[in-house]
Symmetry: C2
Subunit: 447 residues, 2 copies
């Protein structure tokens, strides 16, 4: 039986990143990565990357629509199948790159479902057994379902189904206004599909404690042609007449229904053989070093608590790898985990929201800056946008929102300052290049 220092189950962000970091910290450790499907997990194959591929095409279409303002007469026809094929190509290229990179770091990879054979042995589908000193469980998450709208892969779709569509539906109802739903709504609507979003709450992104972002997300979706219906739920789908029936009996015709009501942790391993415990929501319980109650077993990524974001999984992987390699470290509070929502324009946030600061009675100052006064933004006709930064009395950044073109890049100017508590003045008073969008940060003023 082959022995490994570390076996990792799950080749997504939580898994492969842990593998890479272990090799970086202690190259002599032998590492086996077992993946049942495609390397890269949800993010690379059926999440962040495919959606960003579609969103970049949608951004191009939006720019083309505005070309007259730039002095260019134009006509254009999006070909959905080609857009889809580009998405497939991008995923394949990144997948191959990642696979080669892992092999080059002497990480062994087996494509198989994994089973827990005993407290120190993992078995693959063909019966091969591998012994481990440490095990990392990174089995990820899956789409949540609604009992009255079970996924059928044809008409009632989960996110994997949506990203596999080879034809653009003429109309969809998106059930749920979460991040994934917002990104689907954005590109489908811009591609020419009639999109209705139905959400129980008044605005999309209802789980966020950030009314500024929620209000703006709604406006942005509507600007991009999405019909938003708040305060209602979808009761059922009438497949004969192709209509969804809402809680107030309103009926909406649609080609397809996309159910996007969040994700839940996924792990079908025989955890009892390891004595590893889950919480009531199905998350594997870990401490701040990402170790489970079994001291040889760690867990990272979506299968553990926290925001289901690829970079949260990487961060888990870093913490886990360090601890496996004897570098003692604890994860910081997950409220530091930043995020971007890739609507058009994108919405980005880090740290505490203004609502959280208020409800937690934390003293803060508000600084604001508008895209409208920035010369580079003007050159892009991207004057609609705003930066808000919340500062403590001793000039540490407590939180920040940016909505507007390139906010996903711009927010990174703030991140190391937020995460390391570096004085905001060192950022604000540094020399910025003129004329750049980055200067918006230098224009922040007390409000």
């Amino acid at each position: 039986m082959k022995k490994y220092d570390v076996i990792i189950i799950g080749g997504g962000g939580g898994g492969y990143y842990t593998a890479e970091k272990i090799k970086e910290f202690e190259n002599s450790k032998s590492v086996l990565l077992i993946e049942k499907e495609s390397i890269g997990g949800v993010c690379l194959n059926i999440g962040c990357i495919p959606t960003k591929s579609f969103i970049s095409t949608a951004e191009l279409i939006e720019n083309f629509k505005n070309s007259e303002r730039f002095g260019i007469k134009s006509s254009f026809t999006p070909d959905y199948l080609k857009i889809f094929e580009r998405k497939e190509r991008i995923v394949k290229i990144l997948q191959r790159g990642l696979y080669k990179r892992l092999l080059s770091k002497n990480i062994d990879i087996i494509f198989s479902k994994a089973h827990i054979s005993s407290e120190s042995v993992v078995e693959t589908e063909n019966g091969e057994k591998f012994e481990f000193k440490n095990l990392v469980i990174a089995t990820g998450s899956k789409d949540s379902q609604i009992p009255s709208l079970l996924f059928d892969g044809e008409t009632i779709l989960n996110s994997r189904d949506v990203l596999s569509l080879k034809e653009l539906p003429s109309s969809v109802v998106i059930v749920g206004g979460g991040v994934i739903g917002c990104e689907f709504a954005t590109y489908l609507s811009i591609f020419g599909c009639k999109v209705t979003m139905v959400e129980i709450f008044d605005s999309p992104l209802s789980t966020l404690k950030n009314s500024f972002i929620k209000d703006n997300a709604k406006k942005i979706l509507q600007k991009n042609g999405v019909k938003f219906i708040g305060g209602k739920s979808v009761l059922s789908f009438d497949s004969t007449n192709k209509r969804v029936i809402l809680s107030d009996k309103e009926e909406i015709f649609c080609d397809k229904v996309i159910v996007s009501v969040g994700r839940k942790p996924f792990c079908d391993l025989e955890l009892e053989k390891l004595g590893v415990l889950k919480d009531k929501n199905g998350f594997i319980i870990t401490d701040k070093t990402k170790r489970t109650n079994n001291e040889r077993v760690y867990a990272t990524g979506d299968v553990t608590e926290g925001p289901m974001l690829a970079h949260k999984s990487y961060y888990d992987g870093l913490i886990c790898a360090k601890n496996i390699c004897g570098i003692k470290t604890e994860r910081i509070d997950y409220t530091f985990i930043p995020y971007s929502i890739f609507t058009l324009p994108p919405i980005s946030h880090s740290g505490k929201s203004e609502d959280e600061l208020k409800s937690e009675d934390i003293e803060y100052k508000v600084l604001k800056a508008s895209y409208a006064e920035n010369g580079r933004a003007a050159s892009y006709e991207a004057r609609a946008g705003e930066v808000r930064v919340f500062l403590s009395n001793d000039d540490k950044i407590l939180g920040a929102d940016i909505i507007g073109k390139d906010s996903d890049i711009l927010i990174h100017q703030l991140l190391p300052f937020i995460q390391n508590g570096i004085d905001f003045k060192l950022l604000k008073e540094s020399i910025f290049i003129h004329p750049t969008m980055s200067e918006i940060i230098s224009e922040l003023k007390l409000y």
Copy 2:
């Protein structure tokens, strides 16, 4: 005679920014700004902003050209006059915004040429006299000329002339491969003008001590259709046959000649009345507080030594304003001043170049990262790009080059770290958002 605490001559970046900062630090100080032409100076009226307006349109045209790769069939016709009018509109909007902002801060503004009447009095064209406690000279710079190719505003053009063209020339020869020449070459070529750049040295940007950037600038210009002729000079222009004659007698037909051989300081004030001294190149001599040899007189921006960049002028203005308001401070070494060259894609740099580190015998480590592995760059089909960071042995950033899409924003993640000597690890190990272009910085690896 009206008295002011501070009179500033010149309403460009060096002048208006000084005015704003003085009001910020000590609102009770009375400030008069005298501008002979348009508020905003070269940068806003005939420099950074108009060129960026054209470059953003050029970027859109490039997107149209690449649209098939994104799955979009398109056709487009740039209308140069409309492109020009958009430029005018953007300049007007920003000019108005700036003017209103200055007035709202109770800065008095007079549009007039200024004269030094005596050692404490300035006079405007209509004979009105104003007394000052402190004077700031911010009279800027102008295009350098070549005796054999004197500007005529019709065929032999300076940068102001180029930006005023209401018709796209069918062909131009650009004499000189500096930053301004590179930006003109980029957009004119993409708009459909046949561009030949003639430069005495082997590559454009010859004054930079940065061979990495110089080599890449040449490739980028050529990719954008510019014909680059290195190692030759332009002897003269034969206006009858519309040909420039090169040093080796080669003749190139062209509609217009753009002479872009740098800028020189401009100041036609009667400095002898103030006893203020210039150096042999015409720069007003200042110390590190931006004070001239006359202790009541300061000078900022292009009329003083250093890189002729708007943000260098702002920085001068900040230092000058602080010292006028009694906040003692000195400017840092200008080698810290970062810059972007807005070719397509843009080129950005800060700190020392690798050539400088070598020639100054400074020990350094090289970290590199490629755009090719970044998922978000893939979504934009922007895989051609590279980041290079030079680190000291104690992990301070000595310098950085970024070439590729959005490098002008991305470099800002590094700037406060370079300028304040903050440990690079705090940046590298922070949590980046996935999938973003910013992650390229997190992928930097020892080379």
